[in-house]
């Protein structure tokens, strides 16, 4: 994962709540065996409307998406995160996110910034005309109009994002601890340790 410090630029004032991952990337796009090229299918249904924000001259290629409550609900497909990235979106601001989506976004270096609805309303207004800046280190979202909203982020995730750490590599380094657990578990709950070898 590449390190992430700041995301700054125009923000797409999408605003819709309960944006599910079938809306972000419909299932027929999931037949790929790579992570690339999914931007073409991103928000496919919405983008059938020629007046959609994603393809408008003003917002095309914007790095930030502003949405409503429960963004990314539904399927666990990481293709949703890959599709956003391919569309150029590297941060989403919303009142809340589905647990699985925010995990997938994090793994791909996409910031999921949760802010109260009042802040979202204000940012939706600013986004119509002006850029928005998200700074990870200070955990703030700012606008050219002195707006300043702070957000919470899990300390470990922040550390990984700022330093671009590979989580699999980090965990592989804990191999001894994992082996110890496996030894203990094989004694206490042997039926769990056998799996398909039973």
């Amino acid at each position: 994962m590449e390190s992430v410090q700041q995301v700054s630029g125009r923000a797409i004032p999408f605003g819709r709540k309960n944006v599910d991952t079938d809306v972000i990337i419909p299932a027929h796009w999931l037949k790929t065996i790579t992570r690339d090229g999914l931007g073409r299918g991103a928000f496919e249904t919405i983008r059938q409307d020629p007046a959609n924000l994603f393809d408008s001259a003003e917002f095309k290629g914007s790095p930030i998406l502003i949405a409503g409550d429960n963004f990314g609900c539904g399927s666990s497909r990481e293709h949703a995160a890959w599709a956003l990235l391919d569309l150029g979106i590297t941060a989403v601001i919303a009142p809340s996110f589905s647990d699985i989506f925010s995990g997938n976004a994090f793994k791909n270096g996409i910031l999921t910034v949760a802010l109260p609805q009042e802040a979202i309303d204000r940012l939706m207004e600013v986004a119509q005309t002006d850029p928005v800046t998200i700074d990870l280190d200070s955990q703030t979202v700012t606008t050219p109009f002195q707006d300043r909203f702070t957000f919470e982020i899990d300390a470990f995730r922040k550390h990984c994002l700022l330093n671009g750490l590979d989580e699999v590599g980090l965990t592989l380094a804990r191999g001894d601890q994992i082996a110890q657990y496996e030894n203990k578990s094989a004694g206490e709950t042997p039926w769990l340790a056998t799996g398909v070898a039973a």
Binding site: K17, N18, I33, S75, E78, A155, R174, T189, G195, A198
Partner: protein, 478 residues
């Protein structure tokens, strides 16, 4: 030190902590990993690129399900019938290549045990109470019906589990959804969970693991419990859980990968000890009276859009939240419904009985009981029954259930995910309606422009024979 009172979730979590960090993040051991063809190719590719191995192939089971056609897979000579869609074929080929390369057991497309991963796991005894179970699929919540801590993960996490057999996680909050009382006639596990979706909303469970409790939940069969827990994700919960009890143990005993002999007795004792301690604290408790639950149906494009079959399409203005009003209007436009319309007047052109929510033998029996002696309605263009696994299919055929459907003009198919998400050729045409036993009524879920009404198997069967969304109680009362 006095023992703190713990929930079922707390106990399973504690038993799987490999390491706990100062900030509360835990390295959690994963006991069972189910892999299917859609969310795994990129994970295997990353392992290959980094020269990494699968740590515990023996705790991993691969089953293709999403892309498989539900028409015949082998010709009369036993030769594979090529899959028409080259992308589907490529994804299936990738799993068939990756599983043996990494030493993982694969249940292949023509094996009798093949089926939807969430049907196969419990059926094979691979999924067990008290286990941590993951799969790159949000409906992994299903296995919580056995009392397993089971949840969906993304492809990066699939890779993490393959390489390390662990995940880095923070513990979710505890919620109890208690359903007390006796379920009325014609009210099924699906109606219970649809009702819960309506009460909690699509995000009401976000940040929580939900334990479903109460006499109505305990009275459900194991298969019914899988149906309830399956849709925990539809109210945003990380996972659903139902305490394992004698119903659970009776279901599991003798299954191929279930513990045997001395291990079985030890396992049952451990499973019993996992029950939530009396007086343990939940962060949130929701109590539902079983008497309030009737056969239910969705009207909109979120699983929270639930009404009783006896009800009407709601008016957007009836919602207090302005953003919900707007969403409801969009849903009604998409669904082609008008406020005040009676749900029982809504005509359907398609019926889908299947999916990891409702494709087990009891679901097939419930649908067959309604269809028996009746015919598919003239207005229903397409009606299919897709059993959850080859074993469910074989059992249903042994009971003669396939003939009931076929004689009624309803198609009897091969197992897979099918029209639940339309990745294979089974799709609902744009603008047409489908009474579906699946779990999501999202825009375009069953095909671009398709209009989905989520119902129980009995209700789907009722719609198939009447051509309209129908209160199944009218067909089953003597």
């Amino acid at each position: 030190m006095a023992h703190t009172l713990r929930t079922l979730y707390d106990k399973i979590w504690d038993a799987h902590v490999v390491e706990r960090r100062d900030d509360g993040t835990c390295l959690i051991y994963i006991d069972r990993h189910l892999v299917h063809e859609v969310t795994s190719p990129q994970a295997f590719e990353s392992l290959r690129a980094a020269g990494r191995k699968v740590r515990r192939p023996d705790l991993t089971l691969a089953v293709p399900d999403h892309n498989l056609p539900t028409t015949a897979r082998r010709d009369a000579a036993g030769q594979r019938i090529p899959i028409a869609d080259p992308e589907s074929a490529q994804q299936l080929a990738a799993l068939e290549r990756n599983a043996p390369e990494f030493g993982i057991r694969l249940i292949g497309d023509a094996d009798a045990e093949q089926g939807i991963v969430h049907v196969v796991g419990p059926e094979q005894g691979f999924s067990l109470p008290g286990a941590t179970i993951v799969c790159g699929d949000s409906h992994t919540a299903c296995h919580g019906g056995l009392g397993a801590l089971a949840f969906g993960i993304g492809t990066s996490e699939v890779e993490h589990v393959l390489a390390t057999q662990t995940l880095l996680l923070k513990q979710s909050k505890n919620m109890e959804v208690r359903v007390e009382g006796e379920l009325g006639a014609g009210v099924t596990a699906k109606d219970v969970v649809l009702h819960i979706c309506g009460v909690l909303g699509a995000s009401g469970g976000t940040g929580y693991v939900i334990e479903y409790t109460g006499s109505a939940i305990r009275s459900l069969s194991l298969e019914g419990r899988l149906t309830v827990s399956n849709m925990a994700i539809e109210h945003g919960a990380r996972a659903g859980l139902i305490a394992p009890d004698d119903t659970t143990f009776a279901y599991l005993k003798g299954r191929p990968f279930a513990p045997k002999g001395v291990d079985w007795d030890k396992a049952v004792a451990w499973w019993r000890s996992l029950a939530t301690d009396a007086g343990a604290k939940f962060d949130k408790v929701v109590v539902i009276d079983a008497a309030d639950i009737v056969p239910s149906v969705t009207w909109g494009t979120s699983p929270e859009d639930v009404v009783p079959i006896t009800g009407v399409v709601p008016a957007p203005a009836s919602f207090t939240d302005p953003s919900k009003q707007e969403a409801a209007q969009k849903s009604l436009d998409y669904m082609g419904l008008t406020p005040g319309q009676r749900m029982e007047d809504v005509e359907v052109q398609n019926v889908f009985i299947g999916s990891c929510t409702n494709s087990r033998i009891e679901d097939i029996r419930a649908a067959a009981a309604v269809v028996k002696g009746r015919k598919k309605a003239a207005g229903v263009r397409w009606a299919i029954v897709v059993p959850g696994s080859g074993l469910v299919k074989r059992q249903a055929e042994a009971e003669g259930l396939d003939r009931i459907f076929i004689d009624a003009g309803i198609e009897w198919r091969e197992p897979g995910c099918s029209a639940c998400l339309a990745m294979n050729p089974d799709k609902v045409p744009a603008g047409e309606r489908c009474a579906s036993t699946s779990n999501r009524n999202f825009v375009g879920r069953q095909g671009p422009g398709a209009r989905t009404h989520l119902v129980s198997p009995a209700m789907a069967a009722a719609a198939a024979v009447t051509g309209k969304l129908t209160d199944v109680r009218k067909l089953t009362s003597a």
